[in-house]
Amino acid sequence: MNTLTASPPTRLRSPRRRRVTRGVIFIAMVVMAIVMLYPFAVMLFTSFKTENQYLAGHGTSTQSWHQLASSLPIFQQLLNSTIVCSASIAIILVVGVMAGFSFAKLQFRFANLIFLAMVSAMMVPLQAILIPEYVNVARFGLTNGYLGAVLVYAALGTPFSIFLFTTYFRRVPDELIEAGIVDGLGYWGVLWRLALPMALPAIATVTVLQFIQIWDDLLVGLLFLQNPAERPITVGLAALAAGRTTSIPQLMAGSLVSALPAMLVYLGFQRFLVRGLTLGIDR
């Protein structure tokens, strides 16, 4: 006689209870969304007012948007931010990928010690090293060009990048690398043709996080980019805010323009970002 073993009955929640739970979660999410979006909404609505309309609390106008371009070299500043951001991220990625792969997969003396030293640099706040850093960069005469700021951003971002790529590459099985070596690759080949394509989510993660950080940063731009023609957008906005008369609607318009690229980068890479933090190498 055949005996059928039945799996224990799964306890199903009642549809009503499930609806209530989902409703509560939904409401909580809506509240959080409102909290997050509220500043943007304020910025958006304020930017479509004149100074007087803003003080009066009603009326709309596109005046501040028209004036923005004349009171700020906004396109040049956006370009400056883009150049500084891209160059810094490029350095951060190249150094991070190569160092991460080495720490994860190559054996060399004091590897752990060097890794710890590098990663511990993540703990050092920018403000603590700002003055010596400024002195160094100034001595090299790099405060009047993109290079000084790019190097500072790269130095600040690289420890995190190394940390992320190291932990990421550690999850790549050694056998995969050995398979590549037996198939005819050298270590460079393994890195570029096998490890790198697998690390795309990590690359996206580093890019997004660093882009947002560098794009939104004010302090380094303010100190290390002293040539007005090379100022990034955040420094430009700060100048706008620090003027004798600050037009709040104009400032809001400028802030929106400034926030937009970071949001676009985030939205564009969001899919990889989630994967970068959750992906396990399939065995």
Binding site: E175, E178, V182, D183, G186, M198, D282
Partner: protein, 389 residues
């Protein structure tokens, strides 16, 4: 195709761990050589030294007559199949298989032709466009084989390629790999801790333990003439029964005594085995489970035993036996499924006919097949057979 030679090869890891010592072994062209042994016996290290993934501390490894000690893995012209397949997750099955050829910059047509050909042999044609993660374990295993085949290498190296598969698939892939190896006729070194795989697949089997090579022989030879206690206990399932007995000369007749049992040893063993110096002392007596059968009638070497446990396997019955008095059974190092050896006192086991009439707790009389006695030195474990070394 080429011959692979280990000449007194040693591997000592930094820190002094000896993984392989003085390994000398020749794998002929087209031969299927299985390296078998418990975990940590050095078999995988030996394989990795041929692949170039492990530096050679001492000795010489050559492939096809060329010393490869200092040759880069990519220039050794060998293909390797890994335990967890090591497929490139971002590539399709076809790309995985053709990758090594692409690196060697072979023309696309040639790559396609070889990939198609290998896919046909491995019955993978319909999966060529899939990613590894969309395949089952068995299919992934075949892709890993395919990646090796398309290379048309001088030698295949396989590192426990079946250990991640379930039992049924393992049996299937066992015959599949053997079929492909025969078809291609490429020298193959296959590492496993599973003695069934070793016995069924290898032209010859090399048994290793603790970095040392114990015996290289055909599976049958290994089974019939184990060179020492370890090989005797390792090969065969269930393994050989090894009993510590005292050897006595009683009125010109050699007699083994253990517990309250006595077994007469045929006189032919006086010449075929070096037993003379152990008369009056102890000897390890070995007998395979199938060389014990239920006795009907008198005569021959007989044992009286109690059946502790019986296992009916359908085609045969295993009876685990004990003898009245305190018989010393030699401790054996038996590999578990995960390959970790455990030392335990094993019981004497007899492989009986399926219909054999045995009950747990019952007494049985067993006849020993006197043609297949084995004797080992109790000190060194070495076989006492003349000619065994």
């Amino acid at each position: 195709m080429a011959e692979i030679v280990f000449d007194r090869v040693a591997k000592i890891f930094p820190g002094g761990t000896v993984a392989v010592e003085e390994l000398s072994l020749t794998v002929a062209e087209g031969e299927f050589m299985v390296l078998v042994g418990p975990s940590g016996c050095g078999k995988t290290t030996a394989l990795r030294m041929i692949a170039g993934l492990e530096e050679i501390t001492d000795g010489v490894v050559s492939i096809g007559g060329q010393v490869v000690n200092n040759v880069l893995p990519k220039d050794r012209d060998i293909a390797m199949v890994f335990q967890n397949y090591a497929l490139y997750p971002q590539m399709t099955v076809g790309q995985n298989m053709g990758f090594a050829l692409k690196i060697r910059k072979l023309p696309k047509d040639e790559i396609n032709r070889r990939v198609q050909e290998a896919a046909k042999i491995l019955r993978l044609t319909e999966y060529l466009d899939r990613r590894p993660k969309a395949l089952s374990g068995g299919q992934r295993q075949r892709v890993a084989m395919g990646r090796a085949i398309v290379r048309e290498p001088q030698a295949f190296l396989m590192d426990e390629p079946l250990s991640n598969l379930d039992a049924q698939l393992r049996v299937e892939m066992r015959t599949e790999i053997t079929r492909i190896q025969r078809l291609l006729g490429v020298a193959t070194i296959y590492v496993t801790h599973d003695q069934t795989e070793a016995m069924t697949m290898g032209d010859r089997v090399a048994v290793m333990r603790a970095g040392a090579l114990h015996q290289v022989a055909t599976p049958q030879d290994l089974y019939d003439h184990p060179i020492n206690e370890f090989v005797a206990g390792f090969i065969g399932s269930p393994p050989m029964n090894l009993i510590l007995a005292s050897l006595q000369d009683e009125n010109g007749e050699l007699v083994l005594r253990f517990g309250d049992q006595s077994v007469v040893v045929p006189s032919s063993y006086r010449t075929s085995h070096r037993l003379a110096h152990l008369i009056g002392a102890r000897v390890v007596f070995g007998i395979r489970p199938e060389d014990l059968e239920l006795a009907s009638g008198e005569g021959g070497a007989l044992l009286e035993a109690i059946v502790d446990l019986r296992e009916a396997l359908g085609s045969e019955k295993l009876a685990y036996l004990s003898f009245g008095a305190d018989t010393e059974i030699v401790q054996q190092e038996t590999p578990r499924d995960d390959g970790v050896p455990v030392r335990r006192r094993s019981r004497v086991v007899a492989r009986l006919r399926a219909r054999a009439d045995v009950h747990e707790g019952g007494r049985v009389t067993l006849r020993l097949n006197a043609d297949n006695f084995h004797f080992f030195d109790p000190e060194t474990g070495a076989s006492l057979r003349v000619g065994a070394s």
